[in-house]
């Protein structure tokens, strides 16, 4: 049987073609495998929701907003762009192809372009094949990674960085400093990696107490680096020493408030 991808399309209230005849064959409604979720603005799409969508086995997520510089909410579409940039960095760590997430722009009157955007993306997803998280045969390692990414996307640091990106890179802070886009991207990359690994450690140690060595083997990192993350996480109250087995320290996750 031919693979029919399940694609979620988050679309902005203002770029969905209005007055489009639902029954018309040229409209997106004629594509039964695109599931449209209308939101007020694409900037409204929470990164955690996107990752949650992947965790539930979606084969692709397409986000369509208004062409910059137009946005009903001035820069909501640019907010979405930053969120997607961060999400792609996160996805590249999880083992799920980051191409499964795409952001595209469209005007409400570009009725002819809509099916094209969707076709392009759909063909790409078909080429990638079914999501490793599609029901029943979910890859447990990738699922864990996606859950860790989702937790990272729900946590404070990434959200602050993404929310303040424009302010940080385009305006000066109260000390008259300005961060260049390049510096910011390096910073974001570091934070994405750190947050992802910390939340993965958190999820792993939730199941049972684990040692640094065990964790290092699973996350495929040097034990010293893992220990540095654990020290950081202890400071933030994410993890605590559970017990000592002979000379090995075993850590267990704490419920994050």
């Amino acid at each position: 049987m031919m693979f029919r991808p399940r694609i979620i399309c988050f679309i902005c209230n203002w770029s969905l073609p209005a007055g489009v005849d639902v029954a018309s064959p040229t409209t997106i409604h004629a594509y039964p495998k695109i599931h449209v979720v209308q939101v007020m603005c694409v900037g409204r799409v929470d990164p955690a929701v996107v990752l949650g969508t992947f965790a539930k086995g979606a084969d692709g997520v397409l986000v369509i907003g208004c062409h910059p510089p137009d946005c009903h909410y001035i820069y909501g579409n640019l907010q979405a762009e930053r969120k997607v940039k961060m999400l792609k960095k996160l996805l590249s760590l999880t083992g799920l192809e980051q191409e499964r997430l795409r952001l595209d722009w469209a005007y409400a009157y570009e009725i002819e372009r809509f099916p094209k955007i969707i076709d392009d993306f759909r063909n790409l997803v078909i080429a990638l094949g079914p999501s490793p998280l599609a029901e029943e045969k979910a890859d447990s390692n990738i699922l864990l990674n996606i859950k860790a990414a989702k937790a990272a996307a729900e946590d404070f640091r990434l959200r602050v960085l993404v929310g303040r990106e424009r302010e940080l890179t385009e305006k000066e802070n109260m000390f008259g400093e300005k961060i260049s886009q390049k510096e910011f991207d390096v910073l974001l990359h570091e934070v994405v990696e750190a947050e992802f690994i910390r939340h993965k450690i958190h999820l792993l140690t939730k199941e049972k107490p684990m040692s640094v060595k065990e964790i290092a083997a699973i996350v495929n990192m040097k034990p010293a680096l893992v220990l540095r993350h654990i020290v950081n996480m202890r400071r933030k109250g994410m993890i605590a020493l559970d017990h000592v087995d002979r000379t090995t320290l075993l850590y267990k996750a704490l419920e994050v408030q």
Binding site: R4, R6, I8, N13, W14, P17, A18, G19, P32, H35, V36, V37, V39, M40, C41, G43, R44, V45, D46, P47, A48, V49, G52, T53, K56, G57, A58, C66, P68, P69, D70, C71, H72, Y73, I74, Y75, G76, Q79, K83, Y107, A108, Y109, E154, D155, F156, R157, R159, V160, V162, G163, R164, R166, E167, E170
Partner: protein, 577 residues
């Protein structure tokens, strides 16, 4: 999508465009509808405020555009063109004839003068169910819209279409009935009209008061434009001099050119900067080759054999600003010179025609009807007046505004209610824009299509294609609107958005300020203890704050993240296979 649960119902704060419009048209609302390509609904929304979208789209002086917030970024949104376009598209697609409004009221209302003010009153009262009769002295209704503005600025079929809409609603218009001759105020009252609205306009030309004004070849602008509108033969000769700097002057000059004049000059006593005519009309006149002669005033008109030969002029200089704020022109003695012309068109203003009116209605100099400015009631109970007859020559949109105010007064009067109470709603113009630098520039301006849709000689297919292109450009221009007014301004029950509002969980908020940074409408602010607060009047429910809040303290009242996830799951779960 429902809008009924929107938190904000009463609207006191207006965006600048709506605040500036004398007729109070919901500009942000119809622009938002145009963004979504809902042209007919946009026209309907305009009609909620006034009955002349196509006319105002052509000839309004568009104070909305002057007030538009976008001017702080690049150029204002082309509001007038968008309005014209929406109305044109509706007309070309074939306006759907509205059903007559059932006459639920017994009290008859008479309106004198079928200009913009009179027709607005008729329109508003007809919507309330009153039987309304409009009396017009000219053969066709429309007033200055019909007989003052030349065809090349405002096509007669446009006027006819918009007046037909009012007639479709059940308003009766009787033309060729002259007030003061065929009907009188007391006969109207005795024949059962419970209220009368007088709006017979300012159709008399102001005199130059110089010798030679009665010579053949002197054509006052109002009469001149009226003759041309009535398709009467008017010979202007080769050299035309128009005296004045207002819209009538420019209209008369451009009309003369179209009647075959070789050389048309506008003589104005101040300089170009002080000209009261619309800037784009002056530019159009210049493009057409009309000459301007500034800082000059006629001293006398010289005749030869009963017909004019030349004007004796005097140069002027500008003195101190007068009460209108413009610099007062002062004659320079000894600068007399003559300017040859075949025709002179004085266009220095119009005055109300008060001759047929009872003197009790008039002000002490008998130059206009005296009314209470907020209620528009005259000294005679049950008689109201508005438009140019009260204000002197003004604009269409101001006349519409007066018509709306008078309609409210008449409705209150006929219901025995107080005319004055809660009348002047305090309107605060507001824009939320917090940082102009954050808005990307997009100076592309939509200018009026050079061809009139559907009227060019093309096949139907090409006309359709053209229409699609024009619609696209209009939607693109509408996108330039910053939606800078308060929330719920644009929806008006049009189902444009979900009417959502942000809610802050104060126990979770740490005061990191990210919500205030990402909020596009400045609705998020920290209170004195550093907890985020939502200004519900400004919140537009986009939910970007909720999608960005680091502590996930901000949620939405109606569509939370969990609900979006539920939607995702429901579409993922359903219809698989």
């Amino acid at each position: 999508m429902a809008t009924d649960s929107c938190a904000i119902k009463s609207k006191r704060r207006f965006p600048p465009c709506r605040g500036a419009c004398p007729a109070g048209v919901n500009v942000q609302g119809y622009i938002a509808l145009l963004q979504q390509g809902r042209f007919n609904e946009a026209v309907e929304l305009i009609r909620k405020s006034m009955p002349f979208p196509a006319i105002c789209g052509r000839v309004c002086f568009s104070p909305c555009q002057d007030a538009c917030s976008r001017k702080n970024v690049d150029q204002p949104v082309g509001i007038r063109y968008l309005k014209k376009l929406a109305a044109d598209i509706e007309r070309e697609q074939g306006r759907i004839k509205p059903d007559p409004i059932p006459k639920t009221r017994k009290e008859k209302v008479a309106i004198v003068g079928a200009g913009p003010a009179g027709l607005s009153v008729a329109y508003e009262l007809a919507k309330l169910g009153y039987p309304v009769t409009v009396f017009e002295s000219m053969p066709r209704p429309g007033g200055m819209m019909q007989y003052g503005i030349p065809e090349f600025r405002l096509q007669k079929y446009v006027v006819a279409n918009e007046i037909a809409y009012i007639q479709d609603l059940g308003v009766e218009i009787k033309t060729g009935v002259k007030f003061g001759k065929d009907i009188q105020l007391d006969t109207l009252q005795s024949s059962g009209y419970k209220a009368v609205f007088i709006a017979n306009g300012a159709s008399l030309n102001r005199k130059l008061n110089v010798p030679g004004e009665d010579l053949e070849g002197v054509l006052p602008a109002v009469a001149f434009l009226r003759h041309v509108s009535l398709k009467e033969r008017v010979d202007v000769g080769e050299k035309v001099a128009v005296i004045g700097g207002g819209n009538s002057a420019v209209d008369a000059a451009r009309t003369s050119l179209r009647l075959g004049a070789k050389e048309v000059t506008i003589l104005y006593r101040r300089s170009r900067k002080e000209m009261p005519a619309l800037p784009h009309e002056i530019e159009a006149a210049e493009r057409e080759g009309i000459k301007f002669y500034f800082l000059v005033s006629p001293k006398q008109i010289i005749g030869e054999g009963g017909r004019i030969k030349a004007i004796e002029c005097l140069r002027m200089k500008l003195g101190e600003p007068d009460e209108s704020g413009r610099r007062r022109p002062m004659p320079i003695p000894g600068t007399e010179h003559t300017y040859e012309a075949d025709t002179v068109i004085p266009a220095i203003g119009q005055i109300p025609e008060t001759s047929g009116l009872p003197s009790v209605l008039l002000d002490e100099r008998a130059r206009a009807i005296l009314v209470d400015p907020s209620t528009l009631e005259t000294r005679i109970p049950g008689v109201f007046a508005g438009g140019d007859i009260v204000t002197g020559p003004a604009s269409i949109v101001e006349a519409i505004g007066a018509g709306k105010r008078a309609a409210t007064s008449i409705d209150r009067y006929l219901n025995g209610k107080d005319l004055r109470s809660e009348r002047e709603e305090e309107i605060e113009e507001t824009t939320w824009v917090k940082d102009w630098e954050m808005i990307a520039k997009k100076p592309e301006r939509y200018t009026t299509p050079s061809i009139d849709i559907g009227r060019q000689r093309v096949s139907f297919e090409e006309a359709d294609e053209l229409l699609v292109k024009i619609k696209e450009r209009a939607m693109s221009e509408a996108q330039r609107c910053l939606e800078c007014g308060p929330c719920s301004e644009c929806l008006e029950g049009e189902g444009l958005c979900e009417g959502d509002k942000a809610v802050v969980d104060e126990t979770l908020c740490t005061g990191c300020n990210v919500c205030a940074v990402v909020c596009p409408s400045g609705a998020m602010k920290k209170n004195e203890v550093g907890i985020a607060q939502v200004d519900e009047e400004l919140c537009k429910g986009c939910g970007i704050c909720s999608a960005s809040c680091p502590e996930r303290a901000v949620t939405m009242r109606r569509i939370t993240n969990d609900q979006i996830m539920t939607r995702v799951l429901s579409v993922l779960g359903g219809g698989i296979g």
